[in-house]
């Protein structure tokens, strides 16, 4: 009943929620949920100790570790809880919808292996990647941009599901490791930004220009 396709549909839904979220804290939690779901996804595809270990690791990292890092980085921030995307909610939601439509169409064009996996994987990954991009374009604050990066990373991870048996474990771990370190460094920088720069400037971070 709870097949991979429905899981992917849930993930797509979460994309919209994250795009529409008005409070930063809810956005982080939503991304955490999305991470958990994706962590569990490999179980549907393949069985074996390696896969279980892998999915547990992913769930731990994407679901728990990274959100904690972001919340820790956010804790003494002076930026208000609410965060409005630059173009306003409706615009980013619309963009999200258009993106999902486009990725569904583009997914269709790419010939899918008549694999046993659900037809939804490629479009879902493209949609999530696009959602990540939309967040990167529209959100102003550093925290939300790193969130956008995380959603983008999830999109890429979805596509990774197709190749679970192909890509060796070592590379999978490497990818996860890089993700952790990336977010870790981003968190440190966000902390430094909040400490060094006054809030106004944080908004725009555009002193370096021609």
């Amino acid at each position: 009943m709870f097949t991979l396709t429905t899981l992917l549909e849930l993930v797509l839904l979460l994309n919209f929620f994250v795009l529409g979220a008005s409070r930063l804290r809810t956005a982080v939690n939503l991304v955490a949920v999305q991470g958990m779901l994706l962590g569990a996804a490999p179980l549907w595809l393949e069985h074996g100790p390696r896969v279980v270990l892998l999915s547990l690791g992913t769930m731990a990292v994407k679901g728990i570790l990274i959100p904690r890092l972001l919340l820790y980085a956010m804790r003494d921030q002076t930026i208000g809880p609410e965060f409005r995307p630059a173009g306003g909610f409706i615009a980013s939601l619309l963009l999200g919808a258009v993106g999902t439509g486009a990725s569904l169409w583009f997914g269709g064009t790419l010939p899918l292996h008549n694999g046993e996996h659900s037809q939804l994987i490629v479009p879902a990954s493209l949609a999530t990647t696009f959602a990540g991009f939309v967040m990167l374009f529209t959100r102003v604050k550093t925290i939300s941009q790193s969130l956008g990066y995380l959603v983008l990373e999830n999109g890429v991870f979805i596509f990774g599901l197709l190749l679970i048996e192909a890509v060796p474990a070592m590379v999978e771990i490497g990818v996860l490791l890089d993700l952790i370190v990336a977010v870790f460094v981003m968190g440190i920088i966000i902390q430094h930004i909040n400490r060094e720069l006054d809030p106004l400037e944080v908004q725009h971070l555009s002193s370096l220009k021609e």
């Binding site: 990647t129 990167l136 596509f159 190749l163 890509v167 590379v171 990818v175 990336a182 002193s207």
Partner: protein, 477 residues
């Protein structure tokens, strides 16, 4: 044996973390880098291709050329480091030293790795490792520069990961065992599924192009190189971008072997010329000479990619240009660092008469500029001239004309800034006598400059054989 190239610097990085005193730690840098170069030299002298971990780490002739460029530049920059860090006692340099050595390790890994996934991990690692070194100056501007560098490169590399997965899937779709090993992919290339390969090539090109600083993904470069210390700028402009260029080269090989050669070569030529024109446009009336050097790096990446797009005889020029560009960028960035520190400002309206104020760094900066623009007695001329000649041979006349026009426009923009800085009466005597031309901060640049001059006049036989072998192995169309 080849893995030592990665392990040695990594160990040195760890050691750097452990050494407590700020005064002794910088001396680890030349040590680590020196070991790396010594090991590389012995590998090159042994001559044959070294392969380890069943084909995952391979040191073939192309890898040797890239390793040589990165290794030599890194060693000379590390020679420069102690002198530089001694002048900056107020900044703790634990993270910087560690990051420098770690970046060498990661760069070696990128050059050696034949598995595209592993290569992706290494490239991501270089980004994460160089980010803190940009933030060395700990002021608001360098913080912003680091944030932008990290964000743009990470997004780019995420796309590259998606591209790698597309590539693996193209093998899966074609009924082969999905693999990311370069040799298997090259073997299976002709019957990879065409649309997946096409999409993969585009994603990988845009992804790694962002890391390499090709226009329009170059926007982080002026900020990052502008705010990083000269030494870090040299390493990034000469080392990191070169090793990512090797990644792009690998992908281009697969795309051409996979039958998508026409589109791939046209895209590469387009990106090459676009980067050169962007560099030319943004160098006009540039008031900050470090940002100017960043755009010069964008231009030279454009030249490399343009050369690869041409193929044929241009490959020899491209491989030689990797080495020449690394050395020339080393000279320019290190001498620019000296001038910046001595005059306390990067803006052309505060800095004039550098050749009189700082005789050594000023003249090295001026002759580095001549070298960068491809003037004959210096080595970049050889590579740029063979690329132009190849452009004519491949009958890309319009491309060659735009290439020459872009070179002239870059010369006009860059020359106005460089001559504004070097000629004339010194605007302000160097802040402290300490920042005048020292032995330790001057000798590495002189070594780099003499290498640029030597390679411009005479190519040692071992190097020319290496480059010819590499060019032969890369010769596609």
């Amino acid at each position: 044996m080849a893995v030592y190239l990665v392990v040695l610097p990594a160990l040195a990085a760890l050691a750097a973390l452990l050494v407590p005193s700020d005064r002794w730690r910088p001396w680890l840098l030349p040590l680590g880098s020196g070991l790396h170069v010594a090991c590389l030299a012995s590998l090159i002298r042994s001559g044959e291709t070294v392969s380890q971990f069943d084909g995952w780490l391979v040191l073939d002739s192309t890898a040797k050329v890239f390793m040589l460029a990165i290794g030599v530049l890194h060693f000379l920059c590390m020679l420069y480091a102690p002198g530089y860090l001694a002048l900056r006692p107020e900044r703790p340099n634990r993270i910087l030293c560690a990051c420098m050595l770690a970046s060498l390790a990661m760069m070696s890994l990128v050059v050696l790795s034949r598995h595209l996934g592993l290569m992706w991990v290494a490239v991501e690692a270089t980004t994460l490792v160089t980010a803190p070194s940009i933030y060395f100056n700990h002021n608001a501007r360098s913080l912003e520069a680091t944030w932008k560098y990290l964000l743009i490169c990470s997004v780019g590399i995420a796309l590259a990961l998606l591209g790698s997965f597309f590539l693996a899937y193209s093998a899966l779709y074609a009924g082969l065992k999905p693999t990311l090993l370069f040799d298997d992919l090259m073997a299976a290339a002709p019957n990879l599924s065409r649309p997946w390969l096409h999409a993969a090539f585009i994603l990988l090109l845009v992804g790694y192009g962002a890391k390499m600083g090709l226009s329009p993904m170059h926007t982080w470069k002026p900020d990052a190189y502008g705010e990083a210390p000269g030494m870090v700028g040299a390493l990034m402009a000469g080392g990191v971008t070169s090793c990512v260029f090797l990644a792009v080269l690998r992908i281009y090989q697969i795309a051409v072997r996979g039958g998508d050669g026409a589109f791939a070569s046209r895209t590469m030529i387009f990106f090459g010329l676009l980067s050169m024109l962007t560099a030319a446009v943004f160098m006009v009336r540039q008031r900050d000479f470090k940002r100017m050097l960043a755009y010069s790096s964008v231009e030279h990446m454009g030249i490399l990619v343009f050369g690869v797009g041409l193929g044929g005889a241009a490959i020899y020029g491209v491989l030689l240009h990797v080495i020449n560009n690394a050395l020339a960028k080393g000279v320019l960035f290190l001498s620019a660092g000296n001038i910046h520190r001595a005059y306390g400002s990067k803006l052309t309206d505060h800095v004039t008469g550098a050749m009189r104020g700082l005789p050594l760094s000023g003249s090295l900066f001026l002759f580095g500029f001549f070298a960068g623009c491809g003037s004959p007695p210096f080595s970049p001329f050889v590579s740029e001239f063979s690329i132009i000649a190849a452009a004519f041979r491949e009958r890309h006349f319009i491309g060659a004309a735009i290439f020459l026009a872009a070179l002239m426009a870059v010369f006009l923009g860059m020359g106005a800034t460089v001559l504004g800085i070097t000629l004339g009466k010194p605007s302000r005597p160097p802040q402290q006598a300490a920042f005048a031309d020292g032995a330790w901060t001057g000798a590495p640049i002189v070594l780099l400059m003499s290498l640029v001059l030597l390679l411009g006049l005479y190519l040692p036989p071992f190097l020319s054989d290496l480059v010819n072998q590499a060019a032969a192995s890369l010769a596609m169309n």
